[in-house]
């Protein structure tokens, strides 16, 4: 299959007080067309930065990031964010239609049907005239999933979309997302903290290292679809893969932690010195 996204030696630095912080360092990866790629990594490993670059919200400071644009009448990417991102001033229906309207791909009755289809799929059809303040957190997140799917993007970008939800809602939404994707296959880059989530949804899971963010390892996920977490958990293969991912990740989390406490210790020393000098 052809590569949809090609990332070569991409770096991103931010100017911070007293120096330069490298969020990403020489990251190279390819994402195939219609692949569901999950990325896991410790906090601060730059995975969100990478996703924002793909979404056109950030630019690399070095390296090359190429996305192969197939069809002109589809938006290139649609992002689903972790925070609440549905517009409070639009009704459920208008939120779902927003992407089509704003990208100039609104096609009348055909688009109305498309909006209806995804509202139905996300269980929001009955709430089409509601405003977001009348919805629960889970419903709002389903609405942002619907808004992204409605635009029929070439690439779906998801930044821990279910992290802020309670466990039950999360389980249901993961399941629904998996189903939606199987029915409307496209390229997906999905960032998560949850190893279960990554293995449940992904064709492949990338583990990133932290500060500066690098790609540490790529693990293919062999399970047949449709998958459910409950049936996956019964297989030894699932346990082997999550164990492998956790081993990779644990090193990184521990390293990140050590660095953080090192930083804190360093500041503490400086303070103490300043005090003794004063």
């Amino acid at each position: 299959m052809p590569d949809k996204i090609v990332i070569r030696e991409v770096g991103r630095t931010f100017d911070v007080k007293g120096g330069v912080f490298a969020a990403l360092d020489r990251v190279s990866l390819d994402v195939q067309d219609k692949e569901f790629l999950c990325i896991v990594g410790p906090s601060g490993c730059g995975k969100s930065t990478l996703l924002r670059m793909l979404g056109g919200l950030e630019h690399p400071t070095s390296g090359i990031l190429t996305i192969h644009h197939g069809e002109a009448d589809r938006p290139l990417t649609a992002m689903i964010f972790q925070e609440e991102s549905v517009f409070p001033w639009l009704t459920v229906e208008k939120n779902a239609a927003y992407g089509l309207k704003v990208t100039g791909t609104w096609r009348g009755p055909e688009s109305v049907e498309r909006v209806d289809y995804f509202l139905e799929k996300t269980g929001l059809a009955r709430f089409r005239t509601f405003y977001p303040y009348q919805l629960s957190g889970g419903m709002k997140q389903r609405l942002s999933v619907a808004r992204a799917f409605v635009t029929n993007p070439e690439i779906l970008l998801m930044d821990e979309p279910f992290a802020a939800l309670d466990e039950q809602n999360k389980l249901l939404l993961q399941q629904e997302l998996g189903k939606l994707w199987e029915e409307n296959r496209g390229t997906v880059v999905f960032i998560t903290h949850s190893l279960d989530e990554a293995v449940l949804l992904g064709d492949r899971v990338l583990v990133m290292s932290s500060a500066p963010g690098r790609i540490k390892q790529s693990i293919p996920i062999p399970f047949e679809r449709p998958r459910t977490l409950m049936s996956l958990r019964r297989t030894p293969e699932f346990n082997r893969i999550t164990q492998e991912l956790w081993d990779l990740l644990r090193d990184e989390v521990e390293r990140a932690r050590a660095e953080e406490s090192g930083r804190v210790a360093a500041t503490a020393t400086v303070t103490i010195n300043a005090e003794s000098a004063g």
Binding site: P75, E83, V102, Y133
Partner: protein
């Protein structure tokens, strides 16, 4: 329910006046004031005063609010505009507008224009600040959603910045209504031949205390009605806001 506490206050006042606890030459009983109000409502002069004040207030209000809205939005959206305007606004806003009333009278004369201008100046700054705050407080995530979908600049202004700033704009409108009334009455105290403010001042100069109170009551009522009007507009235009009922 909201009627209970004002009514209780009026009843207390009435009782104190009748029992002689307060000096009725300075604090006439509410019943006396309402009787006078009723009497004056039947006169043409009363309506000329009210009409004149309302006209001045609304013309001045729009003269200030529309430019304020535009400048506030521009400051929120365009960095250069923000960098130019912010220090100016910060320096000029705290100046009490009443303090420059003599200057306004000097420049615009004693006629109608000076009334419009003083109201407009007060409203302009408040509207600018509140609109700017409205745009600045829109969470960045909404702009990210639009930018990610490659929405055009105009689409971003119309579908994110403007609706997102509306709550701030309405806060501005509400505050401005009060300030417009305040500045207008002050301006009518000095150099006016008609208007509620003028009528209060005149009542004081001839020591018709009850007429003065009628003026207060009319102003209080106008303040109340304008606040109510803004609330009504807000309910119509911002049905998406969670509100306490």
């Amino acid at each position: 329910m909201w009627i209970v506490s004002p009514l209780a206050l009026l009843l207390l006042w009435e009782a104190c006046a009748r029992l002689g606890f307060i000096e009725v030459r300075f604090f006439p009983a509410p019943s006396t004031i309402f009787a006078k109000l009723w009497e004056l409502i039947g006169t043409a002069g009363f309506w000329i005063d009210v009409g004149t004040s309302l006209r001045r207030m609304f013309i001045g209000f729009f003269m200030g609010a529309i430019p304020g809205l535009i400048v506030g939005l521009a400051m929120g959206l365009f960095r250069p505009v923000r960098e130019i305007c912010q220090p100016l606004v910060a320096a000029l806003y705290p100046l009490p507008k009443i303090a420059i009333l003599p200057l306004i009278l000097l420049i615009f004369g004693i006629g109608e224009l000076s009334k419009y201008v003083i109201v407009a100046i007060g409203v302009f700054f408040l509207m600018t600040i509140n609109t700017f705050a409205g745009v600045a407080n829109i969470p960045a995530i909404y702009f990210d959603v639009a930018r990610n979908l490659r929405a055009s600049r105009w689409h971003i202004y119309l579908t994110v910045a403007l609706p997102g700033a509306l709550p701030g704009i309405f806060t501005g409108l509400r505050v401005c209504m009060g300030v417009a009334l305040l500045l207008l009455v002050a301006a009518e105290f000095v150099g006016a031949e008609e208007g509620i403010g003028y009528r209060i001042w005149w009542a004081w100069s001839v020591f018709w205390v009850t007429n003065m109170y009628v003026g207060f009551a009319v102003i209080a009522l106008l303040g109340f009605l304008s606040a109510y009007f803004v609330d009504w507009l807000e309910r119509r235009f911002l049905p998406w806001q969670r509100r306490q009922t």
